[in-house]
């Protein structure tokens, strides 16, 4: 049986309206409701289902971030992860933390914890990078099965259905491997009350980046964060002729 490491990121809840900071260095996060990245929730759900199907022996949730990342880990534990690792990254360091850094951390932890499968969401809804799974696989030199919409055990490895442009691709991979979860992989469960209570007592280990020996010096610099352009208001035209005339005027037909 396999040990599964699942990466979870704390992001601004998708139901919250995003506001850009006045100095354009980022978005406002203070006093804003956060929750687990929805794609990571799908990853946790898949890992827990693997355990329920006896494909996995243990599910370890990992999150990199400030102290509040522990709330996200508790959610993963309440969903059914067995234990959690909080990699402490706070303040300015967290603001410049990139997928490459996270991939290095996940790769190191995968070795330390002797994981056979790493599952992460295909991307986080805050920075939309879609890089962590691929980079982790490269650093570990493991096969990768990204954009998974179905994961099945087959022989010693996995059969993974991938969402690709124009359809689905089915691949087989040996273990160990890195999987990234796409939207249709599953519908994550709600943590039930007994499990929420139990999660409070499950082990949660804190480690520092230094302990892991990972260099998280920034590689990129954010120049400016801007609001998307405001859509211009539409107008109602009285008849089809005017519509066609307007379209011609705008060079659309």
């Amino acid at each position: 049986m396999s040990r599964v490491l699942v990466g979870v990121k704390r992001v601004i809840d998708y139901a919250v309206k995003i506001r850009v900071k006045p100095d354009k260095t980022g978005v406002v996060t203070d006093g804003v409701k956060h929750s687990m990245n929805p794609f990571d929730e799908i990853a946790v759900e898949e890992a827990v289902r693997m355990k329920e199907k006896k494909i996995a022996s243990e599910v370890i949730a990992v999150s990199c971030g400030p102290a509040q990342a522990q709330e996200t880990l508790r959610t993963a534990l309440a969903m059914g992860a067995d234990r959690a690792i909080h990699v402490e990254v706070a303040g300015a360091e967290y603001e410049t933390l990139q997928p490459l850094h996270v991939a290095k951390i996940l790769a190191k932890l995968s070795k330390d914890e002797k994981a056979d499968i790493v599952i992460v969401g295909k991307q986080a809804i805050d920075d939309d990078s879609n890089q962590t799974a691929q980079m982790t696989a490269a650093l570990l030199d493991w096969p990768q099965a990204t954009f998974a919409s179905k994961v099945e055990k087959s022989g010693d490895g996995l059969t993974v259905t991938r969402e690709i442009d124009g359809g689905l691709e089915v691949i087989k991979t040996k273990l160990p491997a890195v999987v990234s979860a796409d939207l249709r992989l599953n519908e994550p469960r709600y943590a039930t009350l007994p499990n929420i209570m139990k999660a409070k007592k499950k082990p949660l280990k804190k480690v520092s980046v230094k302990d892991l020996g990972v260099d998280i010096a920034p590689r990129i610099k954010v120049l400016s964060v801007e609001d998307p352009p405001v859509r211009q208001a539409g107008s109602i035209v009285p008849d089809v002729d005017t519509l066609v005339a307007k379209l011609k005027e705008g060079g659309h037909v």
């Binding site: 409701k33 929750s35 809804i125 805050d126 709600y190 943590a191 039930t192 009350l193 007994p194 209570m197």
Partner: protein, 507 residues
């Protein structure tokens, strides 16, 4: 990018129930109300081309709709229950225009039907015969918000959700919230004294509406639009326009008190063994959660499972005979969290809560609320639904559901009950493959007689509208009805405002 993804996720979650409703509602046209309920047209004037010319001279070409296909949506209510035969829709943009229109209609004895978001459930918002529809959709300006007192002043056609978004950005919330918030208008909310999900915490509109501007049948503008919390100067006339469903005057502006935006919100969704335990849990929630309790809702097994199945929404927990939804609004997360944990631990141990989930994540809360709010629309999928909205003293709150199940037998697809336990208000829905007079006569007046026996109200929050005037006597004494009739006579002597609604012909 963030925004596009968020909306994508939302789309997948099928959050937009009202879109679904519109789709279902468009499938077939209901029978004409006048035929379905055998109503006779009163002796009003009939709209002529000279009238249309006059309205166009006041409103311009675009704001007078007379094409049949343009007028149709205004003639039909969204639960496919009523259909009127109006020939014209007027869309005023100001109180003055409303006044001018009414003055003219009153002189010509042309009946009118005011319409907001047309989300009413008792046929009050659609015409019965050829009443001219006055749509408030273009009167949607926010006039003022005092962020210190919380007083919001706006026009009647503002959509509730837009107002809520507006005041939320300024640290406040609207004092009412209901499933139809994305469509309903504040003027309609005021005219129908809409209740909703948080009445338990923030009170009803007679309390939170500070002032009203309304136009009487003869075009007189009644200005009671003060934003004061206390104002004991003479008769409290604003109350005449709150809940009178457009029969005494048309509400054109409201001043409403907005409470502070809660910093900490939690939502729990629980499975409960029986209704007795629902009541015990309510008692416990009131004492253990105290001032942070903002909603206590219940739904029976069929309400939730029928909704989850029909609208393909996820049910966060497994099957239970009853479901309870508890929401808290507070100002401090740790304080609320501690209280909630104590409540949950106690009631899990006591067995009142069999299972459940609790969250403070906005997206998850939205999904759970969405399931609860969608129950109202679920019955419309592939059939017809008889809807009842009644207040019953809590100890008998759920009695009618099993009684109706037994009475109807296999004539009903489902009979389910859900509602605002905190307000003693239950919604009972009876779904059938299609409307039949037989089922209708088995339900009415039976259900109202039963409610009356239990000392309840035959209309808790939906109003009387077109559907219930003949049953109003089950809840109101002759003396009260007599005074209502006198008021109507005084304020609308020609009876042109929303006729066939609220008061029965013979009192």
């Amino acid at each position: 990018m963030i925004k596009s993804l968020a909306s994508f996720v939302k789309l997948v979650n099928k959050n937009n129930v009202f879109l679904e409703q519109v789709r279902y509602a468009s499938q077939a046209l209901p029978q004409l109300s006048s035929e379905k309920y055998n109503i006779h047209r009163k002796d009003f004037g009939r709209i002529e081309s000279s009238d249309v010319d006059y309205f166009r001279s006041v409103l311009g070409q675009d704001r007078v709709l007379t094409e049949e296909s343009d007028v149709l949506p205004y003639n039909v209510d969204w639960i496919k229950n009523c259909r009127g035969q109006s020939k014209a829709v007027l869309k005023p943009k100001s109180t003055e225009e409303v006044s001018t229109i009414l003055k003219y209609c009153n002189e010509r004895k042309l009946a009118v039907c005011p319409q907001g978001g047309n989300t009413g459930l008792v046929g009050g918002s659609v015409p019965v015969f050829d009443e001219i529809v006055i749509s408030f959709s273009l009167m949607n300006k926010i006039i003022d918000l005092d962020d210190l007192s919380g007083a919001l002043v706006c026009e009647a056609g503002c959509v509730l959700e837009n107002l809520d978004n507006y005041v939320r950005e300024r640290g406040l919330i609207m004092p009412l919230d209901l499933g139809a918030k994305g469509t309903c208008h504040i003027g309609g909310n005021a005219s129908t004294n809409a209740g909703g999900l948080r009445l338990l915490r923030y009170g009803n509109l007679h309390g939170s509406i500070l002032g009203v501007e309304a136009v009487k049948a003869d075009g007189t503008v009644i200005d009671c639009l003060r934003s004061l919390k206390k104002d004991n100067t003479g008769y409290h006339l604003k109350h005449l326009f709150i809940g009178s469903e457009g029969t005494l005057g048309l509400v054109t502006k409201v001043a409403i008190h907005c409470p502070v935006l809660p910093k900490s919100v939690n939502l729990g969704f629980f499975g409960v063994k029986n209704f007795e335990n629902v009541l015990k849990l309510y008692k416990s929630a009131k004492s253990k959660l105290g001032e942070i309790l903002s909603a206590f809702e219940m739904a029976d097994f069929d309400s939730i499972n029928f909704t989850a199945k029909n609208l393909k929404l996820p049910n966060p927990i497994s099957d239970y005979p009853f479901y309870v939804l508890v929401e808290t609004h507070g100002s401090e997360e740790t304080h609320d969290g501690e209280k909630l944990t104590r409540f949950l631990t106690n009631e899990m141990e006591s067995g009142l809560i069999l299972d459940g989930t609790v969250t403070s994540e906005p997206a998850k809360m939205q999904t759970i609320w969405n399931l609860r709010e969608s129950i109202a629309a679920a019955g419309l999928v592939g059939g017809y639904v008889f809807k009842y909205d009644v207040s019953i003293p809590l100890k008998n709150y759920y009695d009618l559901v099993p009684i109706l199940k037994k009475r109807l037998g296999d004539k009903a697809t489902k009979v389910f009950g859900y509602g605002h336990v905190g307000d003693g208000n239950i919604h009972i829905n009876v779904t059938v493959p299609q409307y039949t007079k037989e089922v209708s006569s088995m339900l009415e007046p039976f259900i109202f007689e039963e409610v009356s026996k239990l000392n309840g109200s035959i209309s808790a929050e939906h109003g009387i509208g077109f559907r219930k005037p003949k049953y109003i006597h089950y809840s109101k004494d002759q003396s009260a009805l007599g005074l209502m009739k006198d008021l109507k006579q005084l304020m609308d002597p020609n009876g042109i405002l929303n006729p066939y609604k609220v008061l029965p012909d013979h009192i």
